[in-house]
Amino acid sequence: MKYKTLKINNEFEAIHASELASNIAIQMGFGKLESSQITLAVSEIAGNAVKFAGKGTVNFNVKKNKRVLEVVIKDKGPGISKNNKIVGEGYKFFKTSLGVGLKAAERAMDEFFIKSKPGKGTTVVMRKFLHMPDDEIEYGVVSLNDEQNIVNGDSYVIKEFDGDKVLLSVIDGLGEGPVANKAANFVKDFIEDNYRLNLTKMVVKCDKYFRKQKKKKNGDITAAVFGLFLLKSGSLEYLGIGDTNIRVISKKKISLFSKGGLVGEYNLPALNVQKEHCGREIIVIMHTDGISDRFTDDILPLNQSAQKIADFIMNKFRREYGDATILVLKRKK
């Protein structure tokens, strides 16, 4: 879907661009909040272009089968130095709203890239992904901490991106209570920041990151086991390290396995990502070791919602001790 390049020469036109962005977003199926976020991001960046460069251009690109809205805003202004980019939060709001605006736009969008050199102008590329509709895909999660612990040493990630992909992970931090919680959240944050990496790279990098953290002064971080599951339109990938479980229920028989080991301590095992083709209809169940894997597909309420399936498994198969996390994905079409 092609839109003509919009030229913006003043504040009115910058705001008009933000309103146009909102219209495009709504047409694409974004909700009210999301289209408001897009309006805000375009308003901030287009406003900056006009303010600092006098003029600029705004391009709207609808990508990936109308599931991704990309906005590219360029100007040939003075550019932003690395230092300036960080400036702007807190009291400096009055001195320059540049940094605040950039951060606000970044928070409002799913992806945000900025290319700028002092004297060479600025290009900002931002994208927002359309969530996959509920009648197409749904998720169910239950994550509970062991009664003895104040915090949960388990964590999980559900990251939709590009309008048609989803990355799932269940994470179990090594240790008990706050120690495990810290490790699990460490991995969670890492995955959420690096969701585009291929699965092998993600594990290797995460491992390196753990070790780097340990070398720091307050680097009291342990390790973690986790599984990474990437679902695309017609295929899937899995890489699991340690005692982490996954089950796939679909027309085609698919068996996925995790490798023994630990991420963040000792050497990683050989990392082989399992890749399989799959149909659109698929149910994926991932869980940590707080849940027994002794359930067979036929006893599960598979025709109910993903959340009901997750609740069922948690109720019937939770082990006596330990943190427990169950994550269910159900893609219907």
Binding site: L40, E44, F93, S97, A104
Partner: protein, 157 residues
Amino acid sequence: MAKKNSSSEVAISRRKIGGEAPMVVAEVTDSCLYTGFFGTLDSARMRLVTEKLLEVLERTGINMIIIDLSNIDIIDSAVAAHLVRVGETMRLVGTEAVFCGVMPVIAQTMINAGVEFKGFRLFRDFKSCLKYVLNKQGLMLVPFSPNPAEQAQQQQP
């Protein structure tokens, strides 16, 4: 770029879309102001709003201001935090800022970002906000007598 509609539409849309702060300011009583923001409150517009608010505060005798957020589509967390600071600035000057109309979606953004409206009164809607403000000023809304005869008597000198 301006739509060639009736001139009044153009006038309104021009005012709405830039150059000026997206806000209305009105007097509720001699010592209380109402201000409502609308649309997208981005950082640039927040600066304009802040300038205008502080400008308006210089008017003597204002000791309360109602800040109505019900027409804001979206606010960024940093901008919201800044808004709270503006409220604190007002407090220093001796003006109590009272907020109303925080939409659930906006509230969620603020809570997730850790923005706190510590020490500020928050009301669901303008009506309840108004009651509080009038009360604070020692005023209250009193209905005319429901008895038509009495009402007729009252209306005669």
